[in-house]
């Protein structure tokens, strides 16, 4: 971006210095307008979250006061301790961690394995499996909600971690991302590994996996985020409070504390903040991952 500017500038300088100055002035006005708009968008995208975070330290009267006050008066921690004193709250966080962590770890392993076979091996049925993978990515997930529940019911896994993790442990989209990444690696890698006598499995985890670390990270993060924030499937698949994940727990927490926004806001922070921390550590993978489905074949 900056380079592109540098490359166009000297030319403009040569052509017409006077008009250039004129343009630069116009550019400044333009930039002020741009920054003004960006500022408005900045406030509207960060505002609700920042205000929620601050307000989670307010008392109930304070949080519902009209006109609303920006800062808590007094600052209190008790919303957070009250939330955690709910018998199930820590359990919900733990369940969400098991779901998100389990799904992320297994999905990384299994989709890498499937991606390896589909991109680097030659066997009958490969084309069909890949086509089906592309095909099922088009099926809106919500359409399969009811039959998925009935299948889980038949397997007697509803209201267990299996119901949450099994369907998420090898996702077509992740397999697709892996295939796209692994396809680009040079073939000589495996051939030299094979000549050295390494088995397929060893080639896979000693040669291929280290080379596709960015793809593994993207898949891990996207899977974790999806499961951590998932509401619909846990709502359908889980039945008892001790099995709820955090989003589902917050749903029932909301019914129990309907007007106690101070507690609800503090509760929501337990869902938001871990994601924000992950985001600031793995920022570029998040944005790259969001683009994943646009990866061109």
């Amino acid at each position: 971006m900056a380079q592109a500017h540098l490359s166009t500038n000297p030319e403009a300088q040569k052509l017409a210095p006077a008009s250039r100055r004129h343009r630069e002035q116009r550019l400044n006005w333009w930039q002020i307008i741009v920054y003004l708009f960006l500022g408005i968008f900045l406030v509207s995208s960060l505002g609700p979250l920042v205000f929620t975070l601050i307000s989670s330290f307010k008392t109930m009267q304070n949080v519902l006061a009209f006109p609303p006050s920006l800062f808590p008066n007094p600052w209190i921690w008790s919303n957070y301790t009250d939330v955690l004193s709910n018998a199930y709250f820590l359990r919900w966080i733990l369940n969400a961690l098991i779901y998100a962590g389990g799904a992320a770890v297994l999905n990384v392993i299994f989709s890498a394995m499937a991606g390896y076979a589909l991109s680097r091996m030659h066997f009958p049925g490969r084309g069909m499996i890949f086509t089906v993978t592309l095909g099922v990515m088009m099926i809106p997930l919500a359409i399969t909600l009811i039959p998925k529940f009935l299948v889980a019911n038949t397997l007697h896994i509803n209201n267990t971690y299996f119901a949450l993790i099994l369907p998420a442990m090898a996702q077509p989209f992740s397999v697709f991302v892996m295939v796209q990444f692994m396809k680009t690696l040079p073939r000589e890698l495996e051939e030299s590994a094979r000549i050295d006598g390494a088995s397929r499995l060893r080639t896979f985890y000693q040669v291929i996996l280290p080379l596709v670390k960015p793809a593994l990270t993207v898949v891990a993060i996207l899977t974790f985020q999806g499961a951590w924030n998932d509401f619909q499937w846990p709502l359908v698949a889980l039945g008892t409070q001790d099995m709820y994940t955090l989003p589902l727990g917050l749903f029932f927490f909301k019914s129990a504390h309907y007007t106690q926004y101070n507690l609800l806001l503090a509760g929501s922070m337990f869902n938001v903040i871990p994601m924000l921390i992950l985001f600031f550590i793995f920022q570029r993978y998040f944005m790259g991952g969001a683009l994943g489905s646009a990866v061109k074949g």
């Binding site: 499937a114 076979a117 091996m121 089906v132 592309l134 909600l145 397999v175 499995l201």
Partner: protein
Amino acid sequence: MAAQPAKAPVASTSSVQKVERKRFRHDGATPHPRTHRQRSETLTAYLFLTPYLFVLIVFFALVSFYGVGMSLFTVDLGFTPPQFVGFHNYEVLFTQLFTDPSLSPFWISIVNIIKFTVIVVIGQTILALVLAMLLQTLVRGKGVFRTSFYIPALTSSVATALIFLWLYNPDGLINYLLSLIHISGPDWLNDPFWALPSLMLMNIWSTAASFMIYFLAALQDLPREILEAAEVDGANRFQILWRVTVPLLRPTIFLVVALGTIGAFQMFDQAKFMTDGGPINSTLTPMLEIYDAAFNDSRFGSAAAMSVILFIIIFIVTLLQRRFIDTSIQE
């Protein structure tokens, strides 16, 4: 599109195998090395694929066929055994459509979701495009703005719903801001007229940023020469934008519109969380109605029929969008 390049390595593999076969034949030790090797390669490949194939077959393929098949039955889980009823579930729904759709929760939900999708998709696409274009003009501070804009996209639907439940409160921040300019805001989520627009606004807020990323990537890949040529030819900023940039972005616009549409049609979390379809069905979405039919009324067959209809609607809408937006694909 992506299936074609996947086939490319096939040619190279077979030539490698030919070389290997020659080498093996020269050895004379193994009589059918190619079939043997091929068989073990196939076996290894399927071992690598086993977990994925299990999920693909059980939770995607089987489940899809099961859903379609189930729509031909009445299923109520436990009271009576499933009974084949042919197209009865569809007949009921379409009779409602042709007699009085305003009395049928399902068709009410379809009307709601069409309004919702049109506004949300237009809103999020334009907002995402504007944000990306503004960011693109920046020389410094781009990263900070991009990161900040992305944060709503990280916030889960449940947390977003909780936060906006509070902001939309009749005495909440939004009505306070409106009162500053002497507008007395409604009771957003309890007003049948305003409840759906409230959800639309919140949805645009939480999704625009993820689509902005697509536009940012596409803008970066635009051929610079064309933009510079337009500039040299004396086109002004808005001419370049409207005549050059937007047409070049058509494939990305299609992608964003299609993904947005598919997402919006399935809206569930926030409607369940904030309004549960109310007041008087004004925020009832098809997914909510499907959920209620199955889990509150034990009408699983009917719910499956609704899912199939919803799927067909999404499918047709996406095809139409492709035809009208991404004209480059057909030529």
